[in-house]
């Protein structure tokens, strides 16, 4: 039987990694649900942001919070530019998967070209920071990632739910023609949303740089779980993505703590299949 300490630590680890899953999946979820683009390139953008954070911190002495000040607006503009290109090229929901996959490969190659395939670790000096609560340890950076993910998810969800712009975006996603008839300029609003999705990737990347060791090929390891998170959380729902991220993180972590760790992906994808069969209202 696993000890209480082990179980508790596994729960903490799972919930915290769930924050990172939620951050990574939020852009894809919003883009898929409201822009009708299945944008796989957000994973590569997140890693580009991570590498830039590493570069700024390691070689230019720029603290990660200053990197955020630079990267979040820069990636917002990148998202706007990406959306403009997609609109010019008349990318559809189906073709977006192929186009953005190609874009992800291009970004991965660019990362490899600049920083090589070798592993990179941003020694920020914060990675060892932890808080002790009873017998349990809470890593500070992982906790900050969860807090950031929660704040961003609630803010984005509230914005979509209660502001005019948010309602307009949701209306346009549900019925573009009817929304246009009510004077909603979906095209203009979609630039804003695309920028936000990329900005999410930038934030996720900053935390990846602080928490993980970087390699270009690591991009692929997050795609499967992020898709599961988006589908479980419901497309176009940032809060759902966060909660689903925490659910998956929790399930995987507890599985790894009490059984063979190799079963962890099996558990998370079983949850996905069960939810797809059950079809609860939020999915």
């Amino acid at each position: 039987m696993p000890s209480v300490t082990l179980l508790g630590q596994a729960v903490i680890a799972g919930v915290l990694i769930g924050g990172l899953y939620g951050l990574l999946a939020a852009g894809l979820s919003l883009s898929w649900g409201l822009l009708k683009y299945i944008n796989v390139s957000y994973f590569a953008l997140a890693f580009l942001s991570a590498y830039l954070t590493y570069q700024f911190g390691t070689f230019n002495g720029i603290a990660p919070w200053w990197s955020a000040v630079i990267l979040v607006p820069a990636f917002f503009l990148l998202g706007v530019l990406q959306h403009w290109t997609f609109m010019r090229l008349r990318v559809t929901e189906l073709t977006s998967l192929v186009v953005t996959f190609g874009l992800a490969v291009l970004i991965e190659s660019l990362i490899q070209w600049i920083w090589t395939a070798d592993f990179r670790k941003y020694e920020s000096g914060f990675s060892g920071l932890t808080s002790k609560i009873g017998p349990f340890f809470v890593p500070t950076l992982d906790f900050l990632a969860l807090v950031s993910a929660t704040i961003l998810a609630i803010a984005t969800w509230s914005w979509l739910r209660w502001t005019y712009v948010g309602k307009a975006l949701r209306a346009a996603a549900m019925d573009p023609e009817m929304a246009s008839a009510f004077g909603i300029d979906h095209r203009r609003l979609s630039f804003l949303l695309s920028g936000i999705c990329s900005a999410y990737a930038a934030v996720a990347g900053i935390f990846i740089a602080l928490i993980a060791t970087l390699a270009p090929s690591e991009i692929g390891t997050w795609i499967g779980v992020a898709f599961a998170v988006v589908i479980i959380g419901g497309v176009g729902n940032p809060l759902g993505a966060l909660l689903a991220g925490i659910l998956i993180g929790f399930a995987e972590s507890v599985t790894m703590a009490v059984t063979q760790p190799a079963w962890a992906p099996l558990v998370s994808f079983t949850i996905l299949i069960v939810l797809l069969l059950w079809k609860p209202r939020w999915t």
């Binding site: 082990l6 630590q9 990675s127 890593p139 060791t213 090929s217 790894m256 703590a257």
Partner: protein
């Protein structure tokens, strides 16, 4: 347009033709012999690219050096390299292309087990000799012209764990318990099972034996399990950066195991990791005495430092990956030179009956699966650098095995 055209005289045309034929005749007489083309693929992209880059540099260093000294059999050597994208299916097609389209004279194996097996199957179809530098499961290479440069003996699942446990048994307080977690990567699992079985035979308590998915995203729960088990020795059957991930995860929960072993870590990141001091790993070569005097080390070490730095690699020291790749090329060259031919059958036959002095030591190939001695060693991070600590004969003078 016509008014700007110059009409050449008949004399000029004839003299040009005569000059051209003289030049081409001269070329036929004095042209250097065609280079020996050696074909290979490496995982230049994809999840194995970090280590494959090390193999690429080592191979390039060997080729540049042999060409600097007159080439092989009086011919220069040309390295024909393709990117197999870390995919075995791609590797198979590319080796077909190397042999049938590029018509290379010789082939070398790619990096990692799956790709190596794919290349061996093609080599077997065409009767080519193939020397591989990165496959632990030598029993899978049943082709009689496949030769290992990565020497772990014919049964590394028995001999490698013995080296590791012998190393720890030599310390003042040998471990009484061991906790094992291994990546579900064939060579890692294979070694992990060997360690588990040998530990049980020696009466060392196996606290747990776990397998995790490759590549791993999250090592935090595994770190929690290691802490909970509190075994004397943490043994991780890892690849690449997983060792760093585990150390970071253990640091977060304030746990540093008294003893730790990492199977195939990324040498640079682990040596420089804040919690990496004292960590041990598998090796067969590190660039310090006595190994820095082995054949070819004087060429490999300085050139590797230079090229690795130029390639932007953070860790520029020669470790067993670079050394084994270099040794593979030394084997190929030795067989060609000794037989004065590029005939695959002759070269393979020669290797089976002779020993080759290489940068990793003297290799022989006269046992099962063309293997020889197990040259495995245990290395340890000491002041940010790897030092071989076992067997004692390969320790740098003045170095000790730091252990409880």
């Amino acid at each position: 347009m016509a008014k700007y055209m110059i009409r050449p005289s008949r004399r000029a045309v004839l003299s040009s033709l005569a000059a051209a034929s003289l030049v081409s005749a001269g070329r036929r007489v004095y042209a250097a012999p065609a280079p020996i083309r050696v074909g290979c693929t490496l995982a230049l992209t994809g999840p194995l690219a970090q280590t494959a880059l090390v193999h690429k540099l080592a191979a390039e260093i060997f080729v540049a050096d042999i060409n600097k000294h007159g080439g092989l059999l009086g011919r220069s050597v040309e390295y024909v390299l393709y990117d197999d994208q870390s995919r075995a299916d791609q590797t198979r097609s590319l080796y077909e292309k190397l042999i049938t389209v590029d018509n290379v004279d010789l082939i070398m194996a790619p990096y990692a087990t799956a790709a190596t097996l794919a290349a061996i199957s093609v080599a077997q179809r065409y009767g080519k000799i193939i020397i591989y530098s990165s496959m632990a499961q030598v029993y899978l290479a049943t082709y009689d012209r496949a030769f290992p440069a990565s020497h772990g003996g014919p049964h590394p699942e028995i001999s490698n764990p013995k080296v590791i446990l012998d190393a720890w048994a030599s310390t003042p307080h040998p471990p009484q318990s061991i906790a094992i977690a291994a990546s579900k990567f064939p060579s890692a699992l294979f070694e992990a099972k060997g360690v588990r079985d040998l530990a049980q035979k020696r009466g060392i308590k196996v606290a747990f034996y776990l397998e995790y998915d490759f590549p791993s995203r999250d090592m935090n729960p595994i770190a929690a399990r290691f802490k909970d088990a509190n075994a004397d020795l943490v043994w991780l059957g890892c690849l690449g950066v997983e060792a760093n991930q585990l150390i970071e995860a253990m640091t977060k929960i304030d746990y540093k195991p008294p003893r730790s072993f990492y199977l195939f870590p990324a040498s640079g990141p682990l040596a420089s990791a804040p919690g990496g001091e004292g960590a041990t790993a598998f090796s067969n070569y590190e660039e310090h005495p006595p190994m820095d005097k082995f054949k070819g080390a004087d060429v490999l070490i300085p050139a590797f430092h230079e090229r690795a730095k130029a390639a932007g690699m953070p860790y520029t020291r020669v470790d067993f990956q670079a050394a084994t790749e270099f040794a593979a090329w030394q084997m190929l060259a030795a067989a060609a030179q000794a037989t004065s031919s590029l005939d695959d059958a002759k070269m393979a036959d020669w290797l089976k009956h002779h020993q080759v002095e290489t940068v990793v030591g003297k290799l022989r190939f006269n046992e099962e699966f063309n293997c020889g001695d197990d040259l495995s060693k245990v290395k340890q991070v000491q002041k940010g650098k790897w030092q071989v600590v076992w067997p004692v004969a390969f320790r740098q003078p003045g170095t000790t095995f730091i252990a409880p």
